[in-house]
């Protein structure tokens, strides 16, 4: 079974296999042997990739991984089927919500719950990077709820306002989009951080704590090191951070 990641806006599939006790990965068509060896500092690892040593730092928050290698930090998203399905489900449930196109602060709110608005009507003004962006309705709608208040700060993907159909007689469902946004279309869809997802992470982490150590002794070193990396990332997912000494 393959495993999907997104790196630099490109999807990549990693296929694991074990041959004669040795872990092999097929990554974007190339087969490599890979082992992670822990280093001394928090997040520090050495990746042995076909015999070459690649020192790097890595940490995970849920299904998002950060890899610092050769002076650059890369963000990699794990896109396993379960998480993707959840994200789709939450998107469907919030299809009428306008999501924040980027992190920012609400400058002003122009509408109130219950208002009927025309297509193009100004709903609220947000500010990000010291620039203001008008959030408008992309179709005539009724404001079901305002999810933010003036002055409130929000992260990317947070629902800002929920739109409903103009008439009570249910028409066709349409999806609102924030426009015009300076970044519209530049990124793949914004993903709301759904409660379901956080819960999944929490329960995953809980499970990891009680699980017995894996990677039986008969298995090769490669797989052991791999497991170690795995359990560390689990602990991280649980607390959302890497255990480390407090500085200063």
């Amino acid at each position: 079974m393959g495993y999907d990641f997104t790196l630099e806006d490109r999807d990549a599939r990693v296929l694991p296999s074990r041959k004669d006790g040795r872990l092999e990965l097929e990554i974007e068509g190339a087969r490599v042997s890979a082992t992670l060896v822990p280093g001394t500092r928090s997040g520090e690892w050495t990746l042995l990739l076909d015999g070459t040593r690649e020192p790097l730092f890595l940490a995970s928050a849920g299904d998002v991984h950060f890899v610092h290698w050769r002076g650059q930090t890369h963000r990699v998203e794990a896109r396993n089927a379960l998480l993707q399905a959840r994200a789709r489900a939450s998107r469907a449930a919030g299809a009428e919500s306008i999501l924040a196109p980027m992190p920012g602060v609400v400058v002003s709110v122009t509408v109130a719950a219950g208002d009927l608005v025309e297509a193009g009507a100004l709903l609220l003004t947000i500010e990000s990077m010291k620039l203001q962006t008008a959030i408008t309705a992309s179709y005539a709608a009724r404001i079901e709820a305002l999810c933010v208040a003036t002055g409130e700060a929000f992260d990317q993907g947070r629902p800002l306002v929920r739109l409903g159909p103009v008439t009570d007689a249910g028409g066709t469902e349409r999806t609102a989009a924030a426009e015009p946004s300076p970044h519209a279309g530049r990124r793949r869809g914004v993903e709301p951080r759904s409660e379901a997802k956080s819960k999944a992470e929490a329960s995953k982490a809980g499970a990891s704590r009680t699980r017995a150590p894996k990677a039986g002794t008969s298995k090769a070193k490669a797989s052991k090191a791999g497991s170690k990396a795995g359990s560390e990332s689990k602990a991280k997912a649980g607390r959302g951070r890497t255990p480390g000494k407090k500085r200063r």
Binding site: L7, E28, G43, E54, D63, F66, G71, G230
Partner: protein, 507 residues
């Protein structure tokens, strides 16, 4: 986080007489920076902190933390009344405002003094005089310091657009009470002027609660050169050399260095002299910075004066060995400066890179996240002023600047090498930063050659963009990620030895 070697040695003259507990009315890296000097001088330190500051190392850098509240974290830090009440309650003797927040608020400085506390900064009178862009220009015009041609809206509001257009394009529209590039726009033709005026006015009113604006002639390919001033209350005014802060995005500085590269000695002296003249005429006390625009032809124009400690003050500290926060404290306590102009010597080159939580590859959009792993760069000539710790949540509640990497080396090429290396060594996982972008900027041949101007980044956006990983690089990052990923690990366990064939597991 050691200061440069030279700091602390030689210039320290023991205790600051007459100063007691100092309340730092700020947060983040500058709070840590101020606390360090307070600690070294044996002065008790206190810090105001909002709930959003939780987890910041600044809280551990002071002797006392005082909670403040507000409708937003920024509002709490701007609530002068509340902060003064805190200061009185804890028996503080002085308030250090750092930069930003209340640092240039003359009313707050006045209220501090009225409450019987010492304000670590200039007098409210010189803050008012130099803090207002229109007022300060009027004042400086009388001192034989060149100014770019400008018109103020207030002089004749109805004919403002017409008068502005007469200056000639390109124009810069600015907020009179402005700062930090807010409300600032370049206008290249008459057609765009009405809109630019309208937007500038609304931004000025919103950011500064003061909708006065003015227009000035925009100097093409300008450099931003500023001069660090120290002035005591006994009539001595000195400069600590210049800084070049031309590398900017959205009119905000990203890289600063001293000395300004390629500046002929007579020009440098003329700029520094003009700064001293302005500070003296303004009867200025404390640390301040006079900013100039330098045209490619060597003409320079007064821009504004910042009546506070600057973000980029460490580069000056590195080359002069003078602790500017210590000098601020001594001046505020009424001590005379312990050195005169010839006694100030600068050695080597210092460069500062502002580490910001932002995505340089997506229009410098602010980045958020929880710090998972943090390792600052170390080594000789490397100073890292920051307030970052694992577990800290980076939000958009505050300015995106997380830390400042400052390097000091005998010459500019070595300083750049040192900064590039240190930027690569800095590890911040959990929140995107601009560290790799900064390394590309200062490693660019034009930066290395000293060809800096405020349009540097915009003109080189394409070549400064991150290069995608090659196939081998992707394999490294993906292999590491896969091995660290929990779900991937689960699948590995499920792969029985017998079914080792790759094909069988494809789906």
């Amino acid at each position: 986080m050691a200061m440069g070697r030279r700091q602390g040695a030689g210039r320290t003259m023991g205790r600051v007489a007459g100063l007691g507990k100092v309340l730092i009315a700020n947060r983040g890296e500058i709070a840590v920076r101020i606390a360090r000097t307070l600690g070294r001088l044996g002065l008790p330190s206190a810090l105001v902190a909002h709930e959003a500051d939780r987890g910041s190392p600044a809280l551990g850098a002071v002797d006392e933390v005082c909670p403040i509240e507000g409708p937003t974290p920024v509002a709490a830090h701007l609530d002068g009344e509340q902060i003064l009440a805190v200061a009185k309650r804890i028996g503080a003797a002085a308030i250090h405002p750092g930069y930003g927040f209340l640092s240039e608020n003359a009313d707050f400085a006045e209220a501090t003094a009225a409450a019987g506390l010492c304000w670590i900064g200039p007098t409210p009178r010189s803050m008012r005089l130099m803090g207002d862009k229109i007022e300060s220009r009027r004042f400086v015009a009388g001192l034989d310091v060149p100014l770019t041609p400008s018109v103020s809206e207030a002089d004749d509001p109805r004919r403002f657009a017409e008068r502005a257009a007469k200056l000639g394009f390109p124009l810069l529209i600015k907020a009179s009470a402005g700062g930090g590039g807010k409300g600032m726009q370049i206008v290249r033709g008459a057609a765009a002027l009405p809109d630019a005026i309208r937007i500038a006015r609304s931004e000025a009113s919103r950011y500064f609660k003061d909708d006065r604006i003015y227009a000035e002639r925009f100097v093409e390919s300008p450099r931003h050169v500023e001069v660090q001033i120290l002035a005591d209350t006994h009539g001595r005014v000195v400069h600590l050399g210049e800084r070049d802060c031309s590398i900017q995005r959205r009119f905000q500085k990203l890289v600063e260095e001293t000395p300004a590269p390629g500046l002929p000695r007579p020009l440098r002296d003329a700029i520094c002299d003009a700064a001293v003249r302005i500070a003296r005429a303004a009867d200025y006390h404390g640390a301040g910075t006079v900013e100039f625009v330098l045209a490619p032809d060597g003409a320079f124009y007064f821009l504004e004066m910042n009546t506070r400690l600057q973000v980029e003050h460490p580069v000056t500290e590195c080359v002069t060995g003078i602790d500017l926060v210590e000098q601020q404290l001594r001046i505020a306590a009424g001590e005379p400066l312990a050195f005169d102009q010839p006694g100030i010597e600068a050695s080597g080159v210092a460069i500062e890179c502002r580490i910001c939580a932002e995505d340089a590859d997506h229009d410098f959009r602010p980045a958020v996240g929880e710090i998972l792993v943090f390792h600052p760069p170390k080594g000789p000539g490397v100073r890292f002023d920051g307030a970052i710790a694992p577990g800290q949540r980076i939000t958009t509640a505050f300015d995106p600047m997380l830390a400042k990497l400052v390097v000091h080396a005998p010459d500019r090429a070595s300083a750049i090498d040192r900064a590039v290396r240190a930027l690569g060594e800095l590890v911040v996982l959990g929140c995107t930063t601009n560290a790799a972008f900064l390394a590309r900027v200062i490693d660019h041949p034009d930066f290395r050659a000293g060809r800096v101007e405020t349009g540097f980044l915009a003109a080189r956006a394409a070549v400064l963009a991150a290069r995608p990983l090659d196939a081998a690089g992707r394999r490294v990052v993906l292999a590491a990620t896969a091995l660290a990923d929990r779900d991937f690990q689960d699948r590995l366990e499920a792969i029985p030895e017998l079914h080792a064939s790759m094909g069988a597991w494809r789906n």
